[in-house]
Amino acid sequence: MSATQLPDQGVDAFVLEADGLAKSFAGVHALRGVDFALRAGEVHALVGENGAGKSTLIKVITGVYRPDAGTVRLAGQDRSFRSPLEAQSAGISTIYQEVNLVPLMSVARNLYLGREPRRFGLVDPRAMNRGAAATLERYGVRVDVTRPLHTLGLGAQQMVAIARAVQSQARVVIMDEPTSSLEGREVSTLFSVIRTLREQGIAVVFVSHRLDELYEICDRVTVLRDGAVVHTGALAGLDRLELISLMLGRELSAVRAEGATAFGTASHAAGADARPALRAENLDLRHRLHGVSLDVRAGEVVGLGGLLGAGRSETAKAIIGALPTDGGSVDVDGKRLHRRNPAAAMRAGVVMLAEDRKAEGIIPNLSVRENIVLAALPRMSRAGVLSAEKQDAVVKLFMDRLRIKASSPHQRVSDLSGGNQQKVLLARWLCMNPKVLLLDEPTRGIDVGAKAEVQALIDELAREGLAVLLISSELEELIEGSDRVVVLKDGSVVGHLDGDEVTEERLLHALAAAPSDPARGDQDPDSGSVAAASGSIVAETAAAADSGDEEQKR
């Protein structure tokens, strides 16, 4: 469904080529003989599951890593970049998923960092501020450019990063999940920028797992799986399900029937308990959460859906008290949780698996054993002295049950694979005998096999009576794993999906519709004729998909 069909260009129009790139980290093959070719003026999608090698490929191309084998050619010439700076000077500009700017510095300074406008040899702050305001205005961002970057919302910050990357003499612009913090209008703006780049003959590499966006803007696609290229070609002829099955390596029919994840298809028989295991009411946190309420019953998996920046992680952290709130309450099994800090939450039976296991999960230099028992240390000691037997018993129990692969319980946890680290963290929380389990991106960045195991485990835990809150950016995981979905947007709850309503289409629809959109109430999602009043790309795509129109030009 791309807007323009490019005339077939000759081989000499390749602006960027990679041949046989290979890269390993400590024995793990992140890239295996990857060939990649990018033509001038094309928008090339790069897709794959987490751990497929997308970000490694980008880092190798842009000089962050040096490849173990293979070559990179820019406009026909062999180039090997020793640093991102070199790649940048050669014309390869990168926009990262995390806003890689300096939060304490002003917006204007961030935009011009490294190439400040000068007057008499010195930086000219007035020209800088004027230029920054003008640039951002064109991107639809009107802000005080003299204030620090961190005062901007995530979406606006990303626009600043995009404006900066596009500024330089780029021949190739690589965008790594650029829309993860953008909402409808911003996405449209981004797409206009991309189209302009294409017209100017600049090549764009677009990494995303948002299939609708890919089909909207990209011409060609390269699919990575387990470090190797499994498909390269035009996007137009590729069916969505085909694409998914290529990414997952599963048979088309299997994907259609079983879904894309290891979650069972039967929904968990949530008891008709009147009292939910967890009830959060009117959680308020200035600028981040506005009156968020949700409840989870024992034996139920409630998904928390939303874009990046919607407040999902904040909600989970607010519930266990890792973030202080300005208002709201949390009840566990009907009992009010008065003191809100992680220790108190744990005592009440609520535990959370944090999103970033490296920063907030594992204690890297400690052993598997110590990581598992970390939260339960007080229960394993008498008068402060630890009991080795108790620890050993617990550790063995969970290493077996979760099938944690380690050379021994004393192995350093940082040496384990991502999947096993995640299991260690799950063991840490499970050995606290919790009633409520908050999972923030439990399968992020882990290999396919471990991912399936974790998903199956979540299923099992819910069946055993645990109340589970599941946060996931992977739509299939969220849809297939949850009995109900609460949809968050910009810190507020904007929708609930229950039972049969839990579908990808409905979820995207709920995400796309603005909270005050009057049309939302009386729409029939099944017919697909969604009003374009909200101005979102997704809505347009859905409409276009049905009517077969060209996408509407703005």
Binding site: L101, V102, M105, E137, G140, R142
Partner: protein, 341 residues
């Protein structure tokens, strides 16, 4: 020129209006904390100076003020150096020892010629700073430890070249080098000029922007293509050089290379910088704030000398310590409020 590249690839402007609510309006707390951080030291300085002038007739006299300025000016250069280093998120504990080393080298050099009196400390201390910078940037060692070792090593070197402190080199009378350090105006002008240059360097050059970026988000700075390693080496080189220059000028004022001087000067410099509003964690540096910080500490010292002279320098230390603690607590509390809100 950036403006042309700016406009090069822009779309004609998105049809949709500006992004809704792209920026949070500053809360009251945020505005207060912003003002306190930027102007707090100045406000306290004015307050203390006003109080002092009110309570004591001798304080606001020219002889008192000129002695405050003249006696301390050169040491303030250490705080200038420290501002740059702390802005990058690092620290330089060696400046006190380099100050002493600079003085001794200058005195030794002055005996051969005034030019050597300036050149010798600059070259040696710059080299010392560069080595420290290399260890921090290339060997990725913690600045605290590297400059701690530098503190010890420079002091050791100093002792070695003065026969374990027994030799005191004298600066010959009548040389223009000796004149540099005399009186009030020459030192103040030299130091003021260096502070102004320092301000320009930090606020109006690419180098200064790079330092601030490194302190704010080093990873991003690297990815944005800034020459991080080079900037780090240069900032420690700068710090060492300034310390050496300060020491040389100090030696000129004292008339000799005193070997026991400079102990603990780095701590006072850190205190002045932090009190002035520069963030110890890096990412925000204020030369103006450092000026307020050094003046404030000097005024306090002066007052204590005057009123509590019977207690000696111990009282100054106690007060300084308490003061630093209060300022830092305030800074931290306000910056946390800002981050949460």
């Amino acid at each position: 020129m950036s403006s042309s590249t700016l406009n090069r690839t822009l779309p004609p402007g998105p049809a949709a209006g500006p992004v809704a609510e792209p920026q949070q309006a500053p809360t009251l707390r945020e505005r207060i904390s912003y003002q306190v951080q930027r102007r707090g030291a100045l406000a306290v300085l004015v307050l203390v100076a006003a109080l002092a002038s009110g309570l004591s007739p001798t304080f606001p006299t020219w002889s008192n003020i000129s002695s405050i300025l003249g006696n301390n000016a050169f040491v303030w250069l250490l705080a200038l150096a420290m501002t740059f280093v702390i802005t990058t998120g690092g620290i330089d504990l060696s400046v006190g020892s380099l100050y002493a080393l600079g003085g001794v080298l200058a005195a030794r050099g002055a005996q051969t010629g005034s030019w050597l009196a300036v050149l010798l400390p600059v070259v040696v201390c710059a080299a010392w700073g560069a080595v420290q910078g290399l260890l921090v940037a290339k060997a990725r060692m913690a600045p605290f430890i590297v400059t701690l070792a530098g503190l010890l090593g420079a002091r050791g070197l100093l002792q070695a070249i003065t026969n374990e402190g027994s030799t005191t080199y004298l600066v010959p009378q009548g040389s223009w080098f000796r004149d540099l350090g005399q009186g009030t105006w020459t030192p103040v002008l030299i130091v003021a000029a260096l502070f102004v240059l320092g301000w320009l360097l930090l606020e109006r050059t690419g180098f200064g922007a790079a330092l601030t970026a490194i302190g704010g988000n080093e990873n991003a700075a690297r990815l944005l293509g800034l020459p991080v390693d080079r900037a780090k080496v240069l900032v420690y080189l700068l710090s060492g050089t300034l310390a050496g220059v300060a020491g040389a000028l100090g030696g000129s004022r004292l008339g000799s290379g005193v070997t026991t001087i400079g102990v603990g000067y780095e701590l006072t410099a850190i205190a002045a910088v932090v009190i002035g509003g520069t963030l110890l964690s890096g990412g925000f540096g204020s030369i103006g704030g450092t000026v307020c910080g050094v003046l404030l500490l000097a005024v306090i010292h002066n007052l204590i000398d005057h009123y509590f002279s019977q207690y000696g320098s111990a009282f100054t230390d106690a007060v300084n310590g308490g003061f630093l603690a209060v300022v830092v607590l305030l800074q931290t509390a306000l910056s946390r409020a800002r981050r949460l809100g």
